[in-house]
Symmetry: C2
Subunit: 391 residues, 2 copies
């Protein structure tokens, strides 16, 4: 595995740390312009229409300072589409552009399941979390959780009795939360890994937790919920995991205990009833297939994407080989073609590309324009849908 | 509702109390011979081949004595196919031929659910059973259970706080079990009903409990399981209820409590996860459709079935009207026709009747002969299947 070059990491970090560029916009920018460098170049020149909706570009010095600080504390920066980025997470349509990791970043590519649940856990819930995590570790499956009080901490502790564990956190690596889990975070970083999307210095606030939950949902092959009350954060994590096509596991609990109502409800919705580690191991994919990351890994030739989006290419072949060098072709009607294919039922972008017989980049450019014009909307899983006209 | 005539009740009781005649054999005898009187007559004369496999016919005096004793204690005898027999139970292929009831026999026709579970119930399990039964009663749904310690007793008590309850027991009405539930049985009999298949004087033994469980499974529209350990009797009741197409409900419990492993396993197999009475009410059929009992209710003309099984009838019409008076028709090939239609995949008897264009009685006579010859087997749900030849 070769290390990503420093210039690319810097460019990624600047893009990722710019207000208004979330993971989906980041990915779209890079796809549209062919590389992170090209996207950054566009934004600096104000030459792309998407730039209207975003804030000031993250200054180069700020990004360099963050990289220096991370290096000084022995942390790692993983960049989407570059070597070292965890493959299972990398496949997601909203994969985080950059991850900061304390500990062993290679651990993030291991077979893992998320174990999440309530902070005010019962002693039984704590025992379940510890025991499941320890027994999964004994079977070579690591546990990722959110370092919270209750079930999360119990899962981390259980996993460490027999293996390693990953803590996904909402704030910066230098801001352990809750404060009493300072030592636990240190221990996890020494023996496993602590991962976050947030820049150093970020004190976690409520709005940061969905990103932490997404890491748990996306890094795990499945998500185990123990003692989640109705409308609790653990259910949000489970919902995200379900959106990512992960298997949801729930430990049943007495209906007399409100702490179990949310997890029981997951069972009602089809989660795998989980009494022991065998219930989980039985449902996990036997091995992690080699992932095909999205085309950032094999960017189109830089010339084709610098300056303006390419408009003259042959239809792309079936994935994953990149399309051959594009001979010219008429494209005046691409916008109209896409208009014609779109409907109020979501369609995969890949389908549009196939039907339009233009390059992905060309189609995405038009789609981005349509999104900004408010006529379409991007959905999870690389789907687009026509927006109804205002009533 | 007219009362069944005394002669029919006596004949039914003699047949039902004869060793070797279980519910399925009872039903087949009556169907084959057209009426319980005809079947009894055959057996007394040793004229039917099925009689080889059964014991001495229950003497008339013994049956009369049982009827007298039941009357003396204020109990009722309900006879399958006769007015007063609970319709939901009456539809089953193995409906009990006779039921003894202390209390209000009409209660057995109410909307009911079974609530069953472990004897060594936790306090939480007891609270769940009481609360579910009470809230169901408040919604007009009665509870039937098995008068056992633990969950059963809690369900009965809960139901009585807001309505009535039915206790199905394994022994005779004069043999309450367990002994400490003597007073509970009295209370249920005064306000609700106690029902059994067993004759008076039957001290319940292990082998009697499946019949008690069948009553719970068959009289209820659904079966709720609370705290059932693996391989416990409650699971047998649930399995029977499932065989009867009833909805199975299970209350989830902590995997740390072995008392919940069986009920959790039911959830794994698709039982309705039940936290409160709404989970049950939502899944129950809104009303009980009028039942079409099997043809015992409208027996063919006595002349056609006395002496020998009828062999000359027109094809029966669609149920439930009895077939019109039969003109003669050639039947020499009925045996061959049935042979031709049967396969190693189970077929409904009704289908055979339809395809053979002979009367149900004629077809059943041939099938009974084939069963005794070992070439076919009767299965639940009035199905028959060809038996493979000995290897």
């Amino acid at each position: 595995m070769t290390a990503p070059d420093a210039a690319t990491v810097l460019a990624c970090l600047r893009l990722a740390r710019t207000d208004g560029i979330g993971p989906v916009a980041y990915r779209r920018l890079v796809r549209t312009h062919g590389s992170v460098h090209a996207a950054l170049d566009m934004l600096e020149r104000g030459a792309t229409r998407i730039s209207r909706s975003i804030g000031t570009l993250c200054p180069r010095d700020d990004a360099l300072r963050e990289i220096d600080h991370l290096q000084a504390m022995g942390a790692h920066l993983l960049v989407h589409g570059q070597p070292g980025y965890p493959p299972l997470l990398g496949r997601l349509h909203d994969a985080p552009p950059v991850l900061s990791v304390l500990g062993d970043p290679a651990l993030l590519a291991n077979r893992m399941v998320g174990i999440v649940g309530g902070r005010n856990a019962s002693s039984g819930g704590v025992r379940m979390a510890e025991s499941l995590a320890a027994l999964l570790a004994a079977h070579g499956v690591d546990t990722i959780s959110g370092l919270a009080r209750g079930i999360d901490a119990a899962a981390h502790r259980g996993a460490m009795t027999a293996g390693r564990t990953v803590a996904a956190i909402a704030g910066g690596l230098d801001c352990p939360y809750p404060p009493e889990h300072d030592a636990l975070q240190d221990q996890i970083a020494r023996t496993g890994a602590v991962v976050t999307e947030a820049p150093l210095g970020t004190v976690p606030q409520a709005r940061h937790f969905p990103r932490r939950n997404r890491l748990i949902a996306g890094l795990g092959l499945g998500c185990v919920v123990i003692e989640a009350a109705l409308r609790s954060g653990s259910l949000i994590t489970a919902r995200m995991a379900l959106d990512y096509d992960r298997t949801i596991f729930a430990v049943p609990g007495s209906p007399l205990d409100p702490r179990c109502h949310g997890s029981n409800d997951l069972l009602r919705q089809g989660a795998v009833l989980t009494e022991n580690e065998r219930d989980i191991l039985r449902e996990l994919p036997e091995f992690m297939e080699e992932t095909t990351l999205f085309p950032m890994q094999a960017p189109p030739p830089a010339l084709a994407v610098r300056g303006a989006a390419p408009r003259h290419e042959t239809p792309p072949r079936a994935m994953p080989a990149p399309p051959p060098a594009p001979p010219p072709a008429g494209t005046d009607n691409l916008h109209e073609m896409i208009e014609g294919f779109l409907s109020f039922t979501p369609s995969p972008v890949d389908d549009l590309v196939r039907r339009c017989q233009f390059s992905t980049a060309a189609v995405l450019t038009v789609l981005s324009e349509m999104e900004i014009a408010g006529t379409i909307e991007f959905l999870a899983g690389d789907m687009v849908v026509r927006r109804p006209p205002p009533a």
